[in-house]
Structure formats: structure tokens, C-alpha cells
Symmetry: C2
Subunit: 231 residues, 2 copies
DNA sequence: ACAAAAGTGTTCCTAATACACCCATGA
DNA sequence: TCATGGGTGTATTAGGAACACTTTTGT
């Protein structure tokens, strides 16, 4: 390696912002720290990278180790790299943040038994506890990115179970964008994109059964044009 | 620091993609390496960060040290963090890439005398030399981001001198988006944004003098809505 | 007077918005 | 039968796209 060692190096970590939607709220997954610094505080799952893994692999590994979330087709995207000098009281830590979208019906985080962690919980982004490090900034940034992305791409589907009603999908958009949408316009728009497939199944409840839809996997997300809703 | 040292750490670098427009081309600034690895190859300006500086400050410092570009109101934005294990033959290097837009009439890079650097040159993004490390990927990614940004925000002004004609501005859009735009539609659109101010000056040439405009500094870039041109 | 770039409006069409009622079901 | 959420269509408006000629200057 030689010349690399001339430079004192910061530590490199990943932090993972896992979003889901449930209870008509956008929620983020936090862990309660079992070790100092910030023992007893909530923070994002994450940790230091290993020399032999990619940043993305580090994000997946930490997520699984700390919250038990480990499925193959996780939607995971690099968010931003936070590099302020005062982020971590232990020393200089550069953190590459990722964001992940999961379906709350399928994905159940749990306390993995890792001694570093006392608890794992979903929190509404509108009602976050006191957070360790600069993790509140990271979450705020991730929320912005998510709502921005939702207007341009079809990422929303990552947050829903395989079969869903149009009302489910509309509520998801409303929760993330924090605005009420018109039912007819929403349906016209979303169905015209050609990314939904109506199934022959219905969701039964107390009222009129709702048609269940699924997401057509055919086209990659990136091919969609702006999805703009009113206002 | 204590527990931070348990983890062997990668090195952290910044790389800077500096764009300008000139000769009807989108151009990027490269340096020719004077030291191994890749001695004699072209690559992006950049280098290892210091523990006491922010990532952004590191990007600015490396840019100035290696190319002489150093002005206060540089448009500098974090692009992406590249963390592949094989990026640098010396060992694991995580690189945070930034992109910068400069006006080629005002900004003249030069060989600073730094022993690490043999030469500094602008290259058309359509005619890049063989590049060291994964810097070609980084540039490709930056070009994509730039054209994407141009459709949504008014970043283009960073690339022009203080006074410019509407034709200058249109050419800039055409070069970056690599498509021909309709003159009337372009002018209608760009003037309707309310971000341009016509001055009483004219650019004289062999033909009819063109009105010179300047960019209204009032509103921050982020407040503009999508700037969509045809196609 | 001619070559060359500057400057300017209108029509068409698509897509976003606003808006209100009937339908199917379970209790 | 009633309460509740599911489902549907139309008229208006705003903005994107296509398109060609006149003006001003230097040579």
C-alpha cells in the first residue's frame, strides 16, 4: 500500500434509512444503542465498513445484523455522504447514507441479539425521538429525497405488498407527499402509466370489495417520466 | 478514539469533475499524473482528505492545489460516493465525487508546479483520453447528472460569463442536452421563468447586435420548477 | 445588396385540474 | 336500509411543440 499510509484516515461507516408506510404514516426504522457513545439513544442502523465489502454490501450487512431485515430484492439506493468533522465524538467518521423502502406487511424487524442494540422500532417521521449523531439530519434529507423521487418514478411500489388496492396506493402517495389527492385524477394518472396490472382478486371488507392490482415488473423504474399530481 | 481503531479503515479521497462549455462542447478538466500509480495517465483532480477539513473543503483545496482554480463562489455539489474495492491499486479507497461548473472565460486552470502533476487540460466529454482509476465512470455519471439538473434547475448560468446573449444560453443547453432546441420556444420558456434580466448592453459582431442578459441573483436556484424543453 | 444572426406569434394538442354522483357490500 | 368506501367522466385551462418570416447590422 505504501503511500496511502502517509495520510491519517477517517473511519468510514454506512447508515441506513429504512422507510415503510403503515398506520397512514411514513415510518423510519431506528435502533436503540446498547453501547456508548449515546448509549440508550435511538439512531439509524449502520456501522463501519469492512475492507473487503462494497458500500452497498456493508449497508445490507449492517441492516441484517442490527434489525434482521434481509431480503434479496431490497430497494436500496445511495443517498448522500455526510462528512462533517463533529458527527461522532469518537473521531472523524465519514458516513455514506443509504435509503431502503420496505413493505411493512412482509418485513418485520426484530432485536437480533446483537449486544450493541437494546431495541428496534418503527417511528413516524413526524414524531421522531431524540437522535444520536446527526441522524436527524440524515432522516430529514432522506424524506425529502423520497418525496421527490415519488413524483418522478414509481418507487412507491416498494412500500406496498404484492397486491394492493388503488386506494392503498393513493394513501401511500398522500402520506409521503403530505397532501390530499383527488381520487379520479389519481386513478386516471396512475393507470395511464401502464405500470399497473389489475388482478381478478378483490379485497373484502365491510364495504364494496376493492379490486386488487399488482405492479408490472416488466419495465425498470427508471424509464418512467415524471408522475405529477395536482398542486 | 478507542473503539474506532478496531476497524481497519479504507482511505477517503475526493475527486472533482469540473465542467465548462467552450467551442460548442461540454468540457471536463483533467490532470496528467506525475507519479505512480498511472503515472502519465489523465485523471480527475482530487486527493485524500485531511482529518480537519470537511469533504467540500477537501474538494476545493485539491482543486486549487492541482489546477489553480480557486474562486469563492464556485458552484460545487456532491455527486456520488464511489466505493468499489478495485478502484485503486494501492488499496481500498472510497472516493466522494463532486461536480463543479465554471465559466471558461473567467476560469483559467494552470499547472501549479505541484510535482504530482505534469499537465492540466480541458477535454471534450465526447473525446476523453484513457483515464486512470474508474474516473471515466465518474465523468459519465456526472454528465448524466448535469443534463438532468439542467432540465430542472437553472444551473446553466454558472457556465456563462456575467453577460450573455440568449443565443449563448441556448447553445449551452443544446451542447449539454445534445439536442437542437427551437429558438422561439426556448426564448419564450427561459424568459418566462423570470430569472433573466435584460441589460441595456449589446454584443456587437458582424451581424445584428444581440441583447445582453444577466442572471437575476435574487431567487435561489432551488425554487425553480422544471425547465422542460421539447422532446 | 447581400449574408448572417437577432428577434418575434399563432395554432395545435396533450395533460393537469376541478368537480359530483352512483355502486356494491356488510352489518 | 343505511353507512361506508369503491368506482367512474367531462369541461376547462395551462403549457409544450411545431412552425417561417421580418429586422438589423457589417461588409
Amino acid at each position: 500500500m505504501g503511500e496511502l499510509e502517509e495520510y491519517p484516515q477517517p473511519s468510514v461507516a454506512v447508515d441506513v434509512v429504512v422507510f415503510t408506510v403503515g398506520n397512514s404514516e411514513l415510518r423510519v426504522l431506528l435502533i436503540k444503542r446498547g453501547l456508548p457513545p449515546f448509549k440508550g439513544s435511538w439512531c439509524l442502523p449502520g456501522g463501519f465498513i469492512k475492507l473487503a465489502e462494497t458500500l452497498k454490501d456493508a449497508a445490507k450487512r449492517e441492516l441484517e445484523e442490527e434489525t434482521g431485515i434481509a431480503h434479496k430484492d431490497l430497494y436500496l439506493e445511495q443517498l448522500y455522504t455526510f462528512g462533517g468533522q463533529k458527527r461522532d465524538p469518537r473521531g472523524r467518521v465519514i458516513s455514506v447514507a443509504y435509503f431502503v423502502l420496505v413493505d411493512s406487511t412482509k418485513t418485520k424487524p426484530f432485536v437480533t441479539g446483537n449486544e450493541k442494540i437494546e431495541d428496534v422500532q418503527w417511528f413516524s417521521v413526524n414524531n421522531l425521538p431524540e437522535l444520536a449523531f446527526d441522524h436527524e439530519d440524515i432522516i430529514k434529507y432522506a424524506v425529502k429525497r423520497l418525496s421527490y423521487k415519488l413524483e418522478y418514478t414509481a418507487v412507491g411500489f416498494e412500500l406496498l405488498p404484492e397486491l394492493f388496492t388503488l386506494t392503498d396506493l393513493q394513501k401511500l402517495y398522500e402520506v409521503i407527499l403530505s397532501e390530499k389527492l383527488d381520487k379520479r385524477n389519481f386513478r386516471k394518472k396512475i393507470t395511464s402509466l401502464g405500470i399497473l396490472e389489475q388482478t381478478k382478486h378483490y379485497k373484502k371488507g365491510q364495504h364494496r370489495p376493492a379490486s386488487l392490482y399488482k405492479f408490472k415488473k416488466a419495465k425498470p423504474l427508471s424509464t418512467f417520466k415524471r408522475v405529477q399530481f395536482e398542486k
